[in-house]
């Protein structure tokens, strides 16, 4: 059939384009990270396959890469855990309790996620400076929790809306308190949602740039994105080999996670935007 043939041709062309488009820059990043000469594309320059960039990035103290990595993991980890708990508590209330302002609260939380970060950072900077917290984890953790909570809240809300309220009612009849029900019954049932929230919030916190750029000043609190953006060589030139090696180390775990949990990521990203 003619139409089937047209469709097949379009599909094959589309798939080729899609794959090249999505993969090429990522492959290029890894390729440069494995080369001794980032300018290997210009004529007469050897590719010089090497792992030296990785070894250097991980061992040269003055590059501070491991410290940035430690800061990013610590801050994102704390934020993901705290955010999931706070979000779960409020999602529980909104999904099962009657109270005034229930709808307004949910919409407001959604609206807050759309505020431009630049409209917060001036005040946050002054606040943290006054409190003497510039360049500490604390200065990042609290704004990050506030910043990522809409994401966690809406993911958990859409999970909890699907959990039958009969579960609560049965426990209430047995005389259990609300907090006990939340901790012992709803939280375990909502565990997959909790995991998704932790994962997506972690990724969001790990990637955050502007707050970290303004609220940290050196390796004692600076995170990976700021480190990579401000990476400077030991000798003035842009050290592309190092930058691409650092970039690969920073993104490979996230890419592997996303590829591995493809089904869940697609589901949860959709939940975040379309609400189930």
């Amino acid at each position: 059939m003619k139409e089937e043939a047209t469709k097949k041709t379009l599909l094959v062309l589309g798939i080729i384009f899609m794959l090249v488009f999505c993969i090429a820059p990522f492959v290029w990043m890894i390729t440069v990270s494995l080369s001794r000469n980032p300018d290997f594309l210009s004529g007469g320059v050897d590719f010089g396959a090497t792992l030296a960039n990785y070894v250097d990035v991980l061992t040269i103290k003055s590059l501070h890469f491991l410290e940035y990595l430690r800061n990013s993991l610590a801050v994102s980890g704390i934020v993901a855990a705290a955010c999931a708990i706070v979000a779960a508590l409020s999602a529980y209330a909104v999904s099962r309790l009657e109270f005034r302002g229930r709808l307004v609260l949910s919409l407001a939380v959604l609206a807050f996620s759309m505020f431009p970060q630049i409209s917060l950072i001036g005040y946050l900077y002054k606040l943290m400076r006054t409190a003497g917290l510039i360049n500490t984890y604390v200065a990042l953790v609290f704004p990050y929790i506030a910043w990522t909570i809409p994401l966690g809240f809406w993911i958990l809300l859409s999970y909890m809306m699907q959990i039958p309220k009969d579960l609560d009612d049965a426990a209430l009849a047995d005389g259990a308190g609300r907090f006990l029900i939340f901790r012992r019954i709803i939280l375990p049932v909502a565990a997959p949602g909790l995991l998704s929230a932790v994962l997506l919030v972690f990724i969001a916190a790990f990637n955050e740039f502007l707050f970290a750029l303004m609220l940290t000043t050196d390796q004692s609190a600076r995170t990976i994105p700021v480190g990579i953006a401000l990476f400077e060589g030991l000798h003035g030139q842009i050290p592309w080999g190092y930058i691409m090696a650092a970039s690969t180390i920073a993104s490979l775990p996230l890419v592997i996670l996303a590829v591995f949990f493809q089904k869940y990521v697609i589901q949860d990203v959709t939940r975040g935007a379309l609400k189930g």
Binding site: L11, P25, W28, V32, E98, F99, G122, Y123, I145
Partner: protein
């Protein structure tokens, strides 16, 4: 009746306790800072200088600041250029990913790669791709014999603009594709079967069935992406830092530059303008998304 009212009030108290941590963190670190930014925009507030109430003078300065107009124009133009490209490309990807193909899961995973890569990492990668002497972009041009001389991608306002567009489209199209894919999955197969029986062709079915049925999802993706793009900063900070000649300075980046110099009053005024633009978009998003309906 009385008992029920009582338990209702008690339930309300319990609910507020559950919500307290969320409310506290949002009020302290989002609501108060936004109000603070509005307030600061009314002051002459520069580090090391005495702070003075200046009422609307920062806003008056905006009106005569040609750099501000330039960044406003850039930001709106950037949104207006990237979003349609993302939507079309995202739609094509979503249609492909919705097909029953043998390697469908592998394809879906591949499309997630740009989404999973941190924005700053993507930005530095594209910065290197656009490198004049040894970047991938000029290498491909030379390979295809399109142009004899290498192009200085980030050197002219127009090419820098499109360089940023391409980098942003790369990073964000997967998100659009995922959202549209979710919409595609809700269209029942029978509708297509019926249309096929009625003798429609591939393109008629797309324009007469798929697109109209996908309209609400497209609208959500469109506004969601617009809100995200209008506040863009990190990609531009790395790839062009607003150059050449300030031509690719987004409103966020323009505001940041003043904060970074310690001019909090003027920086806040810029932030307020962006806030209002984003807020207007958010209101339309909340209306179109139909969220209140879901919560009943």
């Amino acid at each position: 009746m009385k008992l029920k009212a009582l338990s209702g009030r008690r339930q309300e108290r319990v609910a507020y306790l559950f919500i307290l941590p969320l409310a506290a963190v949002i009020v302290l670190f989002i609501v108060v800072p936004v109000i603070g930014t509005f307030w600061t925009s009314l002051f002459k507030d520069v580090t090391y200088l005495p702070t003075e109430f200046a009422f609307l003078s920062n806003y008056k300065r905006l009106f005569t600041d040609s750099n501000f107009y330039q960044s406003l124009r850039f930001t709106l133009l950037f949104v207006a250029t990237t979003i349609p490209i993302e939507m079309v490309l995202g739609m094509i990807f979503a249609l492909i990913l919705n097909e029953r193909l043998r390697y469908r899961n592998a394809l879906r995973a591949t499309v997630l790669i740009p989404w999973a890569v941190p924005t700053i990492v993507a930005a530095r990668t594209w910065e290197l791709i656009y490198n004049y002497g040894y970047g991938l972009a000029n290498y491909i041009l030379a390979l295809l014999h399109v142009s004899g001389d290498p192009v200085n991608w980030l050197g002219s306002p127009v090419s820098a603009f499109f360089a940023l567009v391409l980098a942003d489209v790369w990073k964000t199209t997967p998100f659009v594709a995922i959202i549209l894919l979710a919409g595609l999955q809700t269209i029942p197969e029978e509708i297509y079967e019926q249309a096929r029986v009625d003798g429609t062709n591939l393109f008629q079915r797309f324009f007469k069935i798929t697109l109209p049925m996908l309209r609400p999802v497209v609208a959500v993706a469109l506004i969601f992406r617009s809100i995200d793009t209008i506040r863009i900063l990190d990609l531009i900070y790395v790839v062009t830092d607003g150059g050449p000649g300030g031509s690719t300075t987004s409103l966020s980046l323009y505001g940041y530059k003043y904060f970074n110099e310690g001019d909090f009053g003027y920086g806040s005024a810029i932030a307020v303008v962006l806030f209002i633009l984003a807020f207007l978009l958010s209101v339309s998003y909340l209306r179109i998304g139909g969220f209140s309906r879901d919560l009943g």
